[in-house]
Symmetry: C2
Subunit: 255 residues, 2 copies
């Protein structure tokens, strides 16, 4: 069955949004990721099978899948197949994690992924700022988690996570959030984080955070304000991290 058709029917009204077939094919496949029809870890049909279903050539499907690979949505393995990306895939753990101990210049030597100790959690009505960030209604509620993250050398950062109750439901039965929360969102709620926007600042450590990180009062900390954006372009997590900057740094490669 040919789902896609770019032919210009003489009866059809003015085509408001003409898109290349490979863009349409990508969007159809992304919709299947969003809807959960294709779940993380699952193998996709072969290029030829998808091409036949959509009524396009295999080369067009390939281009769409190449784009989705570049977006980190799928993983392709020669000889095996194409798979929906999982949060724990191949150092995708480190896709959004840029904090590195000083001295780890080589990008080859991966830093360790820090463990989390949850300090507290609460649920309440969203503040005005939270409503703006998540695009929530007046009485919508959010969950807030505070945690301290440590590597083998000790505590490295304190952070607060804010999650809209509307997307995640009730956490009150949830004894703990796991360390890798993006994998948790994916497997438990079908929410796939596609990208994150971060804003970095230097701030003076609040007294309580300085104490938790074993730093002197007012020590300069790296503040990372992150909004995680799901496949459907909604902000699904707001995270504010305060990271020690005397032994750690944030690495970034711009091309």
């Amino acid at each position: 069955m040919a789902v896609l058709d770019n032919s210009t029917s003489p009866i059809s009204p003015a085509r408001l949004e003409a898109q290349p077939l490979y863009v349409k094919a990508r969007n159809i496949m992304v919709d299947r990721l969003i809807s959960g029809q294709w779940r993380p870890g699952q193998m996709l049909p072969s290029e030829f099978a998808i091409a036949a279903e959509l009524g396009v050539s295999q080369g067009t499907v390939r281009k769409a899948l190449d784009d989705m690979t570049a977006e980190g949505l799928v993983v392709r393995r020669q000889g095996r197949g194409t798979f929906v990306a999982e949060a724990e895939d191949n150092s995708i753990l480190f896709r959004f994690y840029r904090l590195t101990p000083d001295g780890h210049q080589n990008s080859s030597s991966r830093p360790t992924f820090p463990e989390s100790k949850y300090l507290s959690r609460s649920e309440g009505v969203a503040t005005q700022q939270e409503r703006d960030i998540f695009n929530l209604q007046a009485n919508d509620r959010v969950w807030r988690f505070q945690r301290l993250r440590s590597n083998e050398d000790g505590p490295i950062l304190w952070e607060q996570l804010v999650l809209p109750s509307r997307y995640f439901g009730d956490f009150s039965k949830q004894t703990q959030l796991p360390n890798n929360v993006y994998q948790f969102y994916s497997t438990n709620y079908g929410i796939i984080v596609a990208k994150v926007n971060e804003q970095l600042k230097a701030v003076s450590a609040p007294d309580d955070v300085a104490e938790m990180l074993h730093l002197p009062k007012s020590a300069p900390l790296l503040e990372i304000d992150r909004r995680a954006i799901a496949l459907n372009d909604r902000v699904v997590e707001w995270r504010r991290s305060l990271c020690r900057s005397d032994t750690m740094h944030y690495r970034n490669e711009l091309k």
Copy 2:
């Protein structure tokens, strides 16, 4: 004339590095950028012309050029041609510039590119650290420039640039470095910056920098340690910036 040939000659020794044709084609074209045979702003031959010269199909050249487009090395304009990227191209000004005034959430509204005031400059023997960074010999020399950069609201950052004399020759006749130094490297020395590696930290402002930025002593500043890497994979510039963090932030989108 067919430059590329993937045929397996029965006489040839073990092929140590089998690469796809499009990778070889890319490398040949990058070499022409490095050598200056193709200079910034210049139009490349058409896909068919390159394909004929290299002895491959037009589709293979297209894939190589697509990769180079993704690397920011060339710019393709439908109906016009393919051009070597220039430092001033289409907001490539902002490719390596991530500092944004607070409140500029929308990536659509570009921040202004800050003006530079050069404070001092000097030339001398490279320190051990500089020799390590640039991979220099014992008696190699470097130029060091200090400058203060401001936008319409006042000074926003102080930074020092270090450049190996070996790559850039003599700056003593040079009255000033321009504001956009990467364009300057490209047009005057044929050095094309392909990527930059940055390390971010939070630090306390030194007294002199605090004064220049009109900030209280020990104010927290964002420190950006940047190494600029040219097409030939050599580090060609080391830059250390101290940026005010009360009215500015560093934005980053991770996919």
